[in-house]
């Protein structure tokens, strides 16, 4: 089914605008799309009239155009007839925000909706979902504007089975300054599921990385999902909840006893090349790193620190995550010493993790980073940058980026997330170098690159 009209519509009809409840989802959705997207947005309520000076249409037929997309925030009972009306009028897709279907014991309604959509090849997202956030065309996330931050535009697209958790993911991405291309909450996924959306994003130009939150696939759809991921040229990061072992009930074969539901899922994600995140923190770090450096990097890592403790902690984390801390050849230690300022030359620890010490200046950090980017035995550099070191200035990011532009290798940076250090962080990020706000996070970024590169 074609999802263009749902993810990139140019005109939207919102069913169910309330004349009495200003916080009704339909009202929030209408306001958001009318005021903050590029799409023509029309409100529909059988009573007609006006809403803050805008016309409310009493039926679809009254609209000045046939909209690409219908957003249904009406009682579940009315959904089937409304879908028929939309299909008859030539609307190309729907987002069914309403709940009250299979999850409320109305399996009959679920089946009816599914049948209508399938018979007419009509794509519908939901029901029971937050729908789609896809700037500048559509935003059906019905949380009031003042309650939620707007993410910056970017290259990461998200698919989530849970609407609530989709919002959480968006907030996490905003916190780590990751831009979003599009986000879809698929809800009960009675018509369109994660596989359909994944296939759409595979050809969606602004999307470079796809992050998916899944609880489980419907019958047989796991296989199609895996085959789709395998055929794609974009990284897919996946996070699964509901990791119950499964398959442990009395079974007569070793295989059935060993291959529980979660293990099977996790192994097949490896087989098809999806990158499974073990935690929400990994999910965000993976999306961020792959958005910056898809296909670059690898296992062989050098850590550059200005504090021995940070270096040691990052080094333990790297080992635990299967990254290789490369050994620095003796000749290179001497060569690096030559390039560093006299201040630090004699006190630096030249074993990986490299400790440039707190006496370091911007130039030393940049020179050391450049030195290792030049080495064939290094795939990526982790830079633990502590802005409280006296010799480090807010110029450090710009300084380091002079070198990173020359190489096709990732530099991944840790800077503590304090308002005071914002200039340091922006110095890197606005020059295309991703920064994490935790030591774990920067190691997770390195891990994602190593996994996708192999």
């Amino acid at each position: 089914m074609k999802l263009d009209s749902i993810i990139e519509p140019h005109s939207i009809a919102v069913y169910g605008l309330s004349k009495t409840n200003p916080f009704h989802p339909a009202n929030v959705i209408y306001a958001k799309n009318h005021l903050r997207t590029n799409s023509h947005t029309y409100a529909i309520n059988p009573k007609g009239g006006t809403h803050f000076g805008q016309q409310v249409y009493s039926s679809l037929a009254e609209l000045p155009e046939v909209p690409d997309l219908a957003v249904l925030t009406i009682r579940a009972d009315f959904v089937p007839d409304t879908l028929r009306e939309c299909i008859a009028a030539g609307v190309k897709g729907a987002i069914i925000v309403s709940g009250g279907f299979a999850e409320a014991g109305r399996d009959d309604l679920r089946q009816e909706v599914r049948r209508i959509c399938e018979e007419n090849d009509f794509p519908a997202i939901g029901p029971n979902c937050l729908g789609v956030y896809s700037p500048p065309n559509v935003n059906t996330i019905f949380l009031p504007v003042e309650r939620i931050m707007t993410p910056k535009l970017g290259c990461v697209s998200i698919v989530s089975q849970s609407g609530g958790y989709l919002v959480e993911i968006i907030l996490n991405l905003i916190q780590e300054n990751v831009g979003i291309a599009s986000a879809v909450s698929i809800g009960n996924k009675d018509v369109i599921d994660e596989v359909d959306v994944l296939q759409y994003f595979s050809g969606h130009e602004p999307t470079r990385v796809i992050g998916i939150y899944v609880e489980g696939f419907k019958e047989g759809r796991g296989r199609t999902f895996a085959e789709t991921v395998r055929s794609m040229d974009k990284p897919v990061v996946i996070f699964k909840a509901g990791k119950t072992p499964g398959g442990t009930r009395a079974v007569s074969s070793h295989t059935a006893a060993l291959a529980g539901d979660y293990l099977t899922f996790s192994e097949i994600m490896k087989q098809c090349g999806a990158i499974e995140a073990d935690s929400p923190g990994e999910f965000v770090a993976f999306c961020k790193a792959l958005g910056h450096y898809k296909g670059k990097g690898g296992k062989r890592t050098v850590i550059i620190s200005v504090s021995g403790g940070h270096g040691a902690i990052a080094s333990d984390l790297c080992s635990a995550q299967g990254l290789d801390l490369v050994e620095i050849p003796k000749a290179d230690k001497a060569a690096l010493a030559e390039k560093l300022s006299e201040n630090v030359r004699k006190i630096v620890s030249y074993n990986n993790p490299i400790d440039l010490t707190g006496s370091v200046a911007d130039a030393d950090i940049a020179v050391a980073t450049n030195f290792f980017l030049e080495r064939d035995y290094v795939d990526q550099v982790i830079l633990l940058c502590l802005p409280y070191v006296p010799g480090a200035t807010p110029d450090i990011g710009a300084h380091v980026s002079l070198y990173t532009r020359e190489f096709d290798k990732p530099v991944l940076v840790y800077i503590p997330n304090m308002p005071k250090y914002q200039m340091y962080i922006e110095g890197f990020e606005s020059n295309g170098i991703p920064v994490s706000h935790s030591v774990e996070g920067v190691v997770y970024m390195a891990k994602a690159l190593a996994r996708y590169a192999k």
Binding site: G220, S253, A256, A259
Partner: protein, 224 residues
Amino acid sequence: MNDRVKEILKSSMEAGWVLEPLAKEMLNIYGMTTTNFAWAKTPGQAQASAQRIGFPLVVKIVSHQVLHKSDVGGVVVGVKDSAQLDSVFFRLSELPGFDGVLLDQMAEGAEVILGSKQDPQFGPVVLIGIGGTSVEIYKDVSIRMAPLTAAEALHALHSLKGRRLLEGYRGRTPVNMDRLTNLIARFSQMVYELADSIESIDLNPVLCGAEESLIADARIMLKR
């Protein structure tokens, strides 16, 4: 589907699983190597087959009433001569549903488990692991969607913690990886082709040596 395979599956439908000699025959039809075996229904047939395969032998009960053979003393390892074979045959013939014995070549090698199951989300999947009786304790396994190529099978083997056991750990002979990965690829092809009929398979152990990888035990459970 091969006619003989069809016939075997049909004859096993009622019991819900395939008798081991028939399971091994199916595996051979799909180009997989098993230990040399024979299905003997009389002491005379057993003696004749024993001459062909050679002592020592493994002797197992064949009965549709005995799925877990070891649990009822239905497997005798290291049967060394004709006299012992006669007495083992007699003892096994007392077990319920006796339908002859399976004579099996004694083989050695690193123990690997190959399995398959029908997964509701992913369809036919293959399990590859370090095998033997302790497989459920160590749980050192890889799972892949069927079918897979020999190269993918090698990749799956490489992801096992116990891979060094196959690569000649502490002076053991390394396993012939070409043979093993080919066997896995053929197995996955069979699993994929017969997905509508088969619920799960355990080949445990597959004995992997410097030359061959031989399937020593096979259990094929059918869909009900």
